[in-house]
Symmetry: C3
Subunit: 269 residues, 3 copies
């Protein structure tokens, strides 16, 4: 299996595949190249029934700090043939979330450090999400002048409308303990060693489950939970592109990069 130009570190052990997000210098920000590499991994998993369990984690103490702002700037520049390159980029991340959620294999996410934006979305689609107490989950999109467009439907399915809207509207940070309380994560670990032990234990639990029955159970449950997801994601991508091109988002990104408050963060704004 290819490692996607080094943005992923892959390591196979029997029927388990370890997938590490490998851009530690960017807190594993989800670049388009990383999205494509993950999509290739999930495509290969579907083609290889001997892969039964995926463990996704991040190198360098963070899971994933969100989308890569540089990609969005790049996509905006290359506008083309009538299709919107930012919407296409955004929708591609929705493809990844659908691929994870719909995967035949069991997917475990180990959440530590920053779990934000796209990383938050990934945490919401794993079958088993383990959170370190010190992890920091956040939807920072609205504070940047954009929306958690592809992520929103998965967050609503994971947390329910109430917590989803609260976190989307306030941009508040949730630690590992609260993540478990609100159903974002399933298992709380005090530190990385405890998390690793719990994951080993869970891998043994999953190995006791018959692979085709496991895949059918996921399908059954996903079907029970969902109205048509794909049209929702299509509409969300178009909306995202509009926001990402807006003056507000330009100000939000500039403020973020300059470590300044954006213009709307004033009492009378």
């Amino acid at each position: 299996m290819k490692d996607g130009d080094g943005v992923l570190a892959l390591h196979r052990e029997g029927n388990l595949l370890r997938v590490e997000l490998n851009r530690p210098e960017r807190r594993n920000a989800m670049s388009l190249s990383m999205v494509e590499a993950l999509l290739r991994v999930f495509a290969e998993v579907e083609a290889d029934p001997s892969l039964r369990i995926l463990l996704i984690s991040g190198r360098g103490g963070h899971f994933c700090a969100g989308g890569d702002v540089a990609d969005m700037a790049g996509a905006a520049a290359e506008a083309s043939d009538g299709t919107d390159p930012i919407a296409a980029l955004n929708r591609r991340f929705g493809d990844l979330l659908q691929a994870v959620e719909g995967s035949r294999a069991a997917v475990i996410a180990l959440c530590e450090g920053a779990v934000m934006g796209g990383g938050f979305g990934l945490a919401c689609v794993a079958d088993l999400t383990v959170a370190l107490a010190s992890a920091r989950f956040r939807l920072p999109e609205t504070s940047l002048g954009i929306t958690p467009a592809q992520i929103a439907p998965f967050v609503v399915r994971r947390l329910g409308l109430s917590q989803a809207r609260r976190l989307g509207v306030t941009g508040q940070v949730v630690d590992g303990r609260e993540a478990v309380n609100i159903g974002l994560a399933h298992i709380l670990a005090e530190d990385r060693a405890a998390a690793d032990a719990m994951i080993r234990h869970s891998i043994n639990d999953i190995r006791r489950c018959e692979p085709a029955a496991l895949a059918a159970t996921k399908r059954l449950m996903n079907r029970a939970a969902q109205a048509d997801l794909a049209p929702t994601l299509d509409a969300a991508a178009a909306e995202f592109a509009g926001f990402a091109r807006s003056e507000a988002a330009a100000q939000g990104f500039a403020a973020f990069l300059g470590r300044q408050p954006p213009p709307w963060a004033r009492e009378d704004a």
Copy 2:
């Protein structure tokens, strides 16, 4: 902005509007006049983008003890042209819950004392619900011989079917701590001073969010959560009117006003 004949106390601070329910002698029971006043507030908010945050609370130590029984008696008397005045009254409260949930602005609810019936419904549609530990949340409708008709869909979306049905079926009281545990409220405060501090902090969080992105995020998430809400609410209003006119409800209201147990509250009833 008008204050709705004194049933609301309104106070603006920059992009924040404080809305106090102001019938403390009735524990802020939700009269039709109060519903209409709140609907006018939300209409003005939609028309004025400079209003970004609403804080709803109740005067006198209670949030809102429910619907106003007097209004229902009044509406029953004025039956008219084929439309059912009680259904119309009930549906109007559904309009309010939809207006709060769909508001462009971020809505915070400060829940203390009695949070019952319509008050419980309001707590379920706020973007951020802060609960005092001592607050008492309850759906008392079935014990009065009526149903939480307009409220039910919003309660189910907030709590899920399981807790919604349990609270509707048993009429049990939930305190602030349990309200946070079951997802009714987001933040627990030990007393009013702590709640005020948490709300100030949350207002700052919300001000960091770009207003149009915030509104779009709410829309996205509401859309992801809902089948068609309006037909559900229409049907519920008709059903409510039937119950409110029933002999059982007449007995329930009389028992409530007379502080007596209703006839059905016997082991063999």
Copy 3:
């Protein structure tokens, strides 16, 4: 009311009916005969408005350890006229879950000991579920090479997709405390005496509720939560039959009965 050939023990007290699952030597495994007996009880409840509350528990320290493997083997043998006898058997359990969820009466479940498979499903449809701290909730299906087919939609509605999928995919055990935390149960009891006291208290709460209003509230909330349930259950029954006939399930049942690990529970399987 008949007791279904002794598989149920029924005891009426005023408007309360106590229903005990009565196969303690099999940890109250849900045989087809028990399913039919419970369906008769719920049919009689619908016909007799003086029955307002049902309390379901299990004799001998366990609630219900799941479906009865012997029945499935029996049904597989009698294949017939084009209809699939295993699918019919499975779908019948879905009928029961629908009957419990849709019952006019308030249904309380007292969960102790093993609450697995079909027992887990029953716990998910009661209006009020009381869990002993020592209870063990589990979906063991995938570890047997089958799927929680009829149960899955009710588990998703109870727990949300996230916890439902985690428990379906890992087969992990949840104790009473975690069952309350994830919304599977509503009330935690440290021991049986505490559970009995809480149930007496809750029965009094329910008696204060007007019966027709209670039934209408359940209908309203069920309707608000559900897309069309029946087609989902039909499809799930067909899928279940396929799995139950599979070589994997035969191995799973044999491993279960022989207390051996199944062939897929190896690192490289």
